[in-house]
């Protein structure tokens, strides 16, 4: 006697596998609902629940009214209405979201996408009597649940997912029960305790998964792959001020008051470490400045010399100057004594990103020094304070230029950075620090940076920063005069040395045929990026009077020399430029397990910034190996670039283009043959499959061939009748095997695999492509 399938759950739910499928659909819905942000509006939840309950009735009623019978659905009659309803059903969350967003509600994009998939799964569940719909629904539901499990660490979601997996396992047991049995009935099937075996295996699998999950810990379940969730997150829906984009998003995002301290940073090894100043960081990255020399006349007394040396040292160490002539590597004592961790601060949010911590305006060919720039002092935006959701936000009040669009959200957790300057993104718009609600705590420092009225920002301070994104296309469209407004001579002056003329000539040659404006800036930076090499260790010697000249002659150097050269070239071209220093966080700095990026002295970087409209500083990147700071493009702009690139490639590669065209044309012309060949390869590859699978694949292969050559088998004609029209001498082996396998339950498994294989091969060879094509031509003629 054959063991019966486990139908306990089906009996409870209505003695049908479809009932189990419906239970699976409802559980998947529950998993997603639990995954959604807790503050999802109740009316939205109610609407979706109503939708889930009402949709089956509506769909089935619609089909009954149109076709008059559900049997056609059952038989797989995929009418246009069937497909249109499926599309409408799937897209309904998107439509709802458009409406909700108009009302300032709505979910993040990921949740909307999940809901769309879930709806499609539910649609398939409702129509689960249609062939394969159950499998599709099961696959979609499982994908959604799996995704949610990887994107959360909520135990309630895990519990619901566990219930889902139990139900799904049961459904699979019911659905694929026959496959668990031996292939041939000749074996003593009763000797195998199939039911018990399946039950034990199920428990074993579940336990194993559970043990692995516990051993791996919850942290392993919240790994976000780079760019896996390309949009939003946050807790307030799509419009959340805390929401942010890109790498490290999602549930790991700790925002606002929740982000006082995170993880291991509370341990002593971080807190008690010596806090490095920016000077230490620069020294760690590029080594210390060379010994003080020069700028002395022989007439000066020793005490004056000593005094001068002391002042210069003090200026360097306090960060007021930045020397472009530095020692070679490993010649100084490291200032960062805490070698357990180099982390200066953590960053959560989209990377790559750069944080400005300092800037310099005057350059004498050797040292960069800060200066009271007129532009800096006259056009500083006012700092206002606004309260959002009970949190105080400090917002810069300035007129938004056309090229700034959208928001970027980052969170910085200061660990050991000894600096009063707020690490700020290039186009900072607003910032928030927990419990800080006085705007006079912040000020503009002389170098036009926002800093705190204190010596340093305290360790463990969490700063939320919102900044604008600059659009490259809009920037290119800006009138060149905007870069020359409120001209400040300090920002365009060049050091007087032997190379100043050479620099001017170089700048002229680089910009003479280029449209004024941002294109010229790009031309200069592109030249530096493509013609010079980043050599971190290289540095001019002590005797060097002109570091830029040395850089141009040497063909490369460290990043601060790239930046310095770029500043000189840009100033020569007439653009008001300054030198900014700070940290560039790259994609490689993102630590998936922590869900954030770690910033160390290695991230220290120097770059030029160009003044726009007197109050905005646009970063440019002349150093190779660093991503462009202005990289934001809209979808259509990207599409346009792609199109132009494609057209350019076609024009520049005529031979290759012709080859691609010819091969594509051939592929199109011979599409029937290569599709048929591909299917035949698949059929060959799965020769080891079960006899029933083999027969099904053979039938599908021949049906596909018939379809490709214009004689598709009508759905109401049995395979023997239709295949027989093509070849009157077809043998009966395949059809006998097929009929026995498909329509005879009692002797289905008796068919030997070898017999099935021979029958399949025979019919595939008999109904060859040539024969089918000939028949198709005859019929169409």
């Amino acid at each position: 006697m054959r063991p019966k399938p486990p139908i306990l759950l089906s009996r409870i739910l209505g003695n049908l596998p479809r009932s189990t499928q419906i239970a699976i659909g409802i559980l998947a819905f529950a998993v997603v609902q639990l995954f959604r942000p807790p503050n999802t509006p109740m009316f939205l939840l109610s609407l979706e629940c109503l939708f889930y309950l009402g949709a089956p009735i509506l769909i089935l009623a619609a089909f009954r009214s149109s076709q008059g019978t559900s049997h056609e659905i059952k038989r797989g009659n995929r009418t246009l209405r069937f497909q249109l309803m499926g599309i409408a059903f799937t897209c309904s969350p998107l439509v709802v979201q458009i409406g909700l967003r108009a009302m300032n509600f709505g979910d993040a994009y990921e949740v909307v996408a999940i809901m769309a998939v879930l709806n499609l799964a539910w649609y398939c569940t409702i129509l689960s009597k249609v062939a394969n719909c159950q499998n599709v629904a099961f696959f979609l539901n499982s994908s959604v649940v799996l995704f949610v499990c990887f994107a959360t660490q909520d135990s309630i979601v895990y519990s619901a997912a566990f219930a889902y997996s139990l139900t799904a396992l049961w459904w699979m047991l019911e659905n694929y029960w026959n496959r668990l049995l031996p292939t041939k009935l000749g074996a003593e099937t009763t000797a195998l305790p199939i039911r018990g075996l399946a039950f034990v295996c199920s428990i074993f699998i579940l336990l194993s998964v559970g043990i692995v999950a516990i051993a791996a810990g919850p942290i392993s379940n919240v790994i976000a792959l780079p760019s896996l969730m390309p949009s939003s997150g946050g807790e307030q829906g799509f419009d959340d001020m805390y929401a942010r984009s890109g790498v490290g998003d999602g549930e790991m995002l700790t925002t606002g008051d929740n982000a006082k301290s995170v993880g291991a940073v509370d341990t002593d090894q971080f807190i008690e470490g010596q806090q490095p100043s920016i000077y230490d960081v620069v020294s760690e990255k590029f080594d210390g400045p060379t010994k003080i020399r020069k700028k002395m006349t022989s007439a000066q007394s020793l005490s004056e010399i000593a005094k001068h040396i002391h002042e210069v040292k003090q200026a360097e160490q306090s960060g007021r100057t930045f020397r472009t002539v530095r020692n070679s590597q490993k010649t100084i004592t490291r200032k960062l004594e805490d070698r357990i961790s180099d982390a200066l601060f953590y960053v959560t949010g989209k990377v790559p990103v750069r944080f400005r911590v300092d800037c310099f305006h005057e350059f004498d060919g050797w040292d960069w020094t800060k200066s009271q720039s007129q532009i800096s002092t006259h056009h500083r935006p006012k700092i206002n304070m606004e309260v959002h959701n009970g949190n105080s936000w400090f917002v810069l009040d300035f007129l938004l230029p056309k090229f700034l669009k959208g928001d970027l959200h980052h969170q910085i957790q200061i660990l050991r950075l000894d600096s009063a300057a707020l690490p700020s993104t290039p186009f900072i718009k607003a910032w928030h620090i927990a419990k800080v609600n006085q705007k006079n705590l912040f000020k503009w420092d002389p170098s036009n940076l926002i800093s705190i009225r204190s010596d340093t920002i305290a360790s463990q301070t969490v700063i939320d920063v919102i900044s604008h994104r600059a659009n490259l296309f809009d920037l290119r469209a800006i009138h060149p005069s905007c870069f020359r407004k409120h001209e400040d001579p300090i920002l365009t002056q060049l050091p007087i040395n032997a190379n100043s003329t050479k620099i001017r000539n170089l700048a002229d040659s680089l910009t003479q045929d280029v449209e004024p404006g941002w294109q010229q800036v790009e031309a200069i930076t592109r030249y530096l990026k493509t013609h010079f090499e980043l050599i971190e260790d290289a540095a001019p010697d002590d005797e060097c009077d002109d570091t830029v000249g040395w850089f141009l002659k040497n063909g490369g150097g460290p990043s601060y020399l790239f930046a310095t050269t770029a500043v000189e070239l840009l100033r020569s071209a007439g653009y008001q430029t300054r030198l900014a220093t700070g940290f560039v966080v790259k994609k490689k700095d993102y630590v998936r397990k922590l869900g954030r990026s770690i910033v160390t002295h290695e991230n220290y970087h120097v770059w030029p910034e160009i003044c726009f409209d007197g109050c905005h500083w646009i970063p440019v990147e002349p150093t190779p190996g660093f991503e462009e700071p202005i990289g934001y493009l809209t979808f259509w702009q990207r599409a346009l670039i792609l199109y132009k690139t494609l057209v350019g490639w076609v024009i520049s590669h005529p031979f290759q283009s012709a080859c691609v065209l010819v091969s594509t044309s051939l592929l199109c012309y011979l599409r029937r043959y290569w599709i048929a060949f591909f299917m035949w390869c698949l059929w060959k590859a799965f020769a080891w499959g079960l006899p029933s699978t083999r027969l099904r694949m053979t039938r599908q292969l021949i049906d596909a061939r018939l379809w490709l050559f214009g004689v598709p088998r009508p759905t109401y004609i049995a395979i023997r009748d239709w295949f027989g029209k093509i070849d009157k001498n077809l043998g009966d082996e395949f059809f006998d095997c097929w009929n026995r396998m498909q329509f005879c339950e009692s002797i289905r498994e008796i068919i030997p695999r070898k017999q099935v294989e021979i029958a399949c091969r025979n019919i595939v060879s008999q109904l060859s492509l040539a024969k089918i094509r000939k028949y198709g031509q005859q019929k169409n003629d």
Binding site: P5, P17, G68, T69, H71, E72, K74, R75, G76, N77, A131, Q134, E174, N175, W177, R696, R699, P714, T715, Y716, I717, A718, I719, R720, D721, N739, R740, Q742, F743, C744, E745, S746, I747
Partner: protein
């Protein structure tokens, strides 16, 4: 309940029926497909209606079928003055015993040939309702069972309308299938004429070649032929399609579905198969549906073709 103790093996069905097939083919020359249908109806234990023009051999083949079996055979020539009691029988007073004695009518036989059935009045036609559906006859509150192998073979002439009464739907629904014989081919007619030369009768002599016991065992074997869920679903879908077709007034009844299932089983067994495939269902579609699909206009084969084309044939068994 099917008595499986006397069930024949499917593989023996063909040989047992070969003599019958041969004899009927000799009687109805060149109509082997019709003969197969007749045998199918016989082993499916259904009633058969021949509907065709005069002189095509309806009565001859019906008579030959009945005579080929070893059972009792009765014939009723239906006329407008035929009474129900002429078919079922009646009670007469026995003068000696002064009691009523039931005189059995022609219905009490194994095979009843109702010739020109549409010439009987509806009242008389109705006398066969109970006999055909339940295989019993009730007269004067007395129910008398008929033999298990009871089969009605009726003929009707669709052309003549004078003095004819169309069979009611309820009556039609009791027939398993309706067969059209059609004109024979030229060569078959030449052969038929050749056979008649030198013979006093027009047809070949017919002898009993299958006894009722064998027939019963074959019918039991047919009932045991396996029908999987996919094929059952296909049958139901086709039945539903007849009810949904706008030009069909009265679709297939559940009784019709059951009869269709049985003839499909019989057709499968004639092919030496112990299971039914969709092709069996399709093969029986026209004979079974012609008899019972009634519409505003005559249920033509075109309508039936539309119906069969509206339902996809199951390619694979339904997943449980």
């Amino acid at each position: 309940m099917i008595d499986t103790s006397s069930t024949a093996d499917i593989s023996t069905v063909g040989p047992k029926l070969s003599s019958l097939r041969k004899q009927l083919n000799e009687v109805l020359i060149g109509k082997s497909d019709v003969v197969e249908m007749i045998i199918t109806c016989l082993i499916a234990n259904g009633h058969l209606l021949f509907d065709d023009l005069p002189g095509l051999g309806k009565t001859t083949v019906a008579k030959a079928l009945a005579q080929s079996m070893g059972g009792r055979f009765s014939r009723v020539q239906c006329t407008p003055d035929l009474l129900p009691t002429d078919i079922t029988g009646f009670n007469i007073l026995d003068q000696e015993t002064q009691t009523f004695e039931f005189q059995k009518g022609p219905v009490f036989s194994d095979f009843l040939l109702a010739d020109e059935i549409n010439r009987a009045t509806p009242r008389t036609q109705s006398a066969l309702f109970e006999a055909m559906a339940e295989r019993q006859v009730t007269v004067d509150n007395r129910t008398i069972p008929l033999p298990d192998s009871f089969m009605v073979i009726a003929t009707q002439n669709p052309v003549e309308s004078h003095g004819a009464y169309p069979l009611p739907e309820a009556q039609l629904d009791r027939f398993a299938m309706k067969l059209n014989i059609g004109y024979p081919q030229r060569s078959d007619e030449i052969m038929m004429l050749g056979n008649s030369v030198g013979n006093q009768t027009d047809t070949s002599p017919v002898y009993p070649v299958l006894d009722l016991k064998d027939l019963k065992s074959i019918q039991a074997a047919v009932a045991n032929v396996e029908v999987c869920e996919a094929v059952r679903g296909y049958l139901v879908d086709l039945g539903a399609a007849t009810r949904q077709h706008p030009e069909v007034e009265l679709g297939l009844s559940p009784r019709g579905l059951l009869l269709w299932l049985r003839v499909a089983q019989a057709w499968a067994s004639l092919d030496n198969r112990s299971y039914v495939i969709p092709e069996d269902v399709q093969a029986m579609f026209f004979p079974v549906l012609r008899v019972r699909v009634a519409g505003q206009q005559p249920a033509t084969d075109a309508i039936l073709q539309e119906i069969i084309e509206s339902v996809p044939v199951p390619n694979e068994r339904m997943q449980k």
